[in-house]
């Protein structure tokens, strides 16, 4: 999974539904750790800004 930084609002919604804690947040950026990610698509489904897409 990949976060499109230009669209991401750093709202944390994706983090709440990630079952494996693969999403890391700083004040300025959200990143997905693809070594941990299981491609469950939860984050992509709930992102209100449609800022997550498949791929690394």
């Amino acid at each position: 999974m990949k976060v499109i930084s230009e669209l991401c609002d750093i709202c944390g919604t994706c983090v709440a539904v990630c079952p494996v804690d693969a999403i890391i947040v700083t004040e300025f950026k959200v990143k997905i750790d693809n070594d941990i990610c299981t491609n469950c698509m939860n984050c992509l489904k709930v992102c209100p800004a449609k800022a997550i897409e498949e791929g690394e």
Partner: protein, 397 residues
């Protein structure tokens, strides 16, 4: 000077964290708050609605953080019928940027310390026991030791995970939200509006919370499992184009609200979770400010007592859980069952519900009447709702 060791470190300076910090400090503990953003309360991710009765136990009302006073709630059904509710008590639309800072100032007045731009990275453990927090501040990684961590890190709730607590919420138990602040409107400053229906906002609602008679927070929350094909922004844009075609958007914000019951586990040895992080949100309204403050006050007091007694294990900290369940947690469970019902409500049922509400004289129309009608046909839930109204008065926000 920031010390190297505090009794309690609070992660997150939202309403839950700052109230927890205040009550812990007031009761004698040394407290440090870490906040990732440059200022508490920003960016605002909230419609900013609260009830007067909900906030007065925690802070004196101050015009600086009140945008408008709300006396009327207007509920609109899919077939465009509206019911007006007058007697749910006074409410406010806040300026959360100022409100959240005021709560932090109050915590500081009681002795708590705050560091902004301090991003917690992990818990420090020794033989599996939590003994502190690692955080990033001004390009450097720092450590602070403590006996108790209070995790008040909002929807993300990562701190609890670091302690081994499962904080993940199911897709249907998160509302995915977009909100605009709109200008150039012609609205009533004393009325907040709610729009329901599967075409308008599946599994949630659209809200208009006025900040003045020409500006308002206009937003939408839809259930997470229903948002994949058409997202909240598309629904909101359709609503705004119809209702406020000439408005100017002065602020755009995205966010998520957990709408589950409280987490199974909100304490472990040396750690307590409060607010959105513990999923202490009203599952029907999505209101979490007051809930977070109530939880924070209980957690803060219990934590201070733990410090006095030198007891930091889950067994002692469970006092907080017990008190929370008695105050709001049990009610939240009932509300969650009701929300499940709302999730599967047809537009026709919404129409009937608002139709029913319209027949009640507006001064008699209360949330209780609304909920009782909504759960009709489900005797067990009806009983639970009746009980929860007796146990604690359900507040709208």
């Amino acid at each position: 000077m920031v010390k190297y060791k505090y009794d309690i470190v609070v992660i997150g300076a939202g309403p839950a964290g700052s109230v927890a910090a205040r009550f812990a400090a007031e009761n004698g503990a040394s407290v440090l708050m870490l906040e990732r953003d440059r200022e508490p309360g920003i960016p605002v991710r909230c419609a900013e609605g609260v009830s007067h009765n909900g906030i007065v136990p925690f802070i004196d009302i101050d015009k600086r953080w009140i945008a408008s006073q709300i006396d009327i709630a207007k509920l609109t059904s899919p077939n465009n019928e509206s019911a007006f509710m007058h007697n749910n008590g006074v409410g406010y639309v806040l300026e959360r940027r100022i409100f959240d800072t005021a709560l932090c100032e109050l915590a500081a007045k009681h002795g708590a310390r705050l560091i902004t731009k301090a991003n917690a990275l992990d818990l420090i453990k020794e033989n599996d026991k939590i003994i502190g927090v690692k955080y990033r501040y001004m390009g450097k990684t720092r450590e602070v030791k403590c006996d108790i961590v209070i995790a008040a890190d909002g929807t993300e709730s990562r701190v609890g995970r670091w302690a081994g607590i499962n904080t993940t919420v199911a897709l249907r138990d998160i509302d995915t939200c977009v909100q605009y602040t709109l200008a150039g409107l012609d609205i009533k400053k004393d009325t907040c509006e709610f729009y329901f229906g599967n075409e308008v906002s599946p599994g949630g609602y659209v809200w208009i919370f006025p900040k003045s008679d020409s500006t308002a927070n206009v937003g939408i929350g839809i259930a997470g499992h229903l948002s994949h094909k058409k997202g909240p922004k598309e629904y909101l844009d359709e609503f705004v184009a119809k209702r406020f075609p000439d408005a100017t958007i002065t602020y755009t914000m995205f966010g998520g609200v957990p709408t589950s019951a409280t987490l199974k586990e909100i304490v472990r040895d040396n750690i307590m979770l409060v607010g959105d992080a513990a999923r202490q949100v009203n599952p029907i309204t999505g209101g979490g400010i007051v809930q977070g403050m109530i939880a924070g006050s209980i957690a803060g007091k219990v934590a201070a007592e733990a410090v006095k007694k030198g007891k930091f294990d889950a067994k002692f900290l469970k006092k907080y859980r017990k008190e929370w369940d008695k105050t709001l947690g049990n009610t939240q469970k009932v509300m969650h069952s009701m929300k499940e019902k709302f999730l599967f409500m047809t537009d026709e049922r919404f129409n009937n519900l608002v139709g029913f509400c319209k027949k009640i004289p507006s001064d008699k129309f209360s949330l209780k009447a609304l909920f009782t009608e909504a759960v009709k046909g489900d005797p067990k839930l009806m009983l639970d709702v009746a009980k929860s109204f007796i146990v604690s008065k359900i507040k709208l926000k």
